[in-house]
Amino acid sequence: MTLENVLLVSGIIFAIGLYGVLSRRSAIALLMSLELLFNAVVIAAVAFSRFTPPAGLADGGVVTANEVRAALTGHVFAVFVIAVAAAESALALALIFALYRAKQTVEITDVSEMSK
């Protein structure tokens, strides 16, 4: 388990999510693919945090509290991304419901055809 391998897994999940965003017709499925994109980015953030430990930690020398905090900043970023993604999905589902009530469909191609 090296940084490169974790980044590869993150990239694969990101690409799968990107494929979903580009190819799905249902707005809900599109939202699911977006969540996959968020997850891939969070994996990358945590991986960088895990594999670039403070220098003192790596060679068993002196570690300062600042170095530990710097190393854990990636985790804090991950938590922020998760929180924002949760807010985004709540809002997106409300939008999808509003769309469904107005147009009786959540297929994005139908909506774009109707708006012409």
Partner: protein, 220 residues
Amino acid sequence: MNETFEASGIVTFAFWVTSAITIAAAVMVVTVRDVFKAAVFLAGSFIGVSAIFFLLNAEFVGVVQILVYVGAVSILIAFSVMMITDVSRGSQPSRARYASVTVAALVVAAIAITAYNTDWTLNEDLTDPAAIAGLAGEFVEEELESGEGRITSTDGLGITPDTVVQTGVLHDSTGTIGGLLLREFVLPFETVGLVIVAALIGGLALMRPRRHEPDSRGGG
């Protein structure tokens, strides 16, 4: 996680198994026609990602992932699918499938090439406390005086000797993350709270029945 456990390859094996399950579930999410099945596979994918977090020594992020994604977002999406999906019509086939596959393949190739051709070894200049202090100015230097030397639990910032383990990874990181969230990152932390409240109010406003249009369900 001690050194022999790490070196035995169990962690690496578990990582690849977990990654394979996660990627398979993600592929099902974007390919399966039934949107409800896609939601179930999405929950499975979320669990796999949280397992990857645990393997990366990020227990707190893993638990947050389970709580927020598996516990909240998946359920929300599943309920939405049950309320919205038009079963009689079924899901339509994908659009622009080949172009999407091409774009996704290019992206994963670019990420893989970048990941494997970049020298990720630590830049010593940037982890040297003196260098960080020089870059960040007075603030860090003040912090350094209190945090210099071997970490003890007396600095009151949630960093204990347990935070450091000999294999070069951090563990028991939750206390430190809490300290980070409420000290260095307190402004983003509060802003995220504001964003969530704004999203909730926005969602309620979007869902509210229009005044002049009578609600067909006889509600408000």
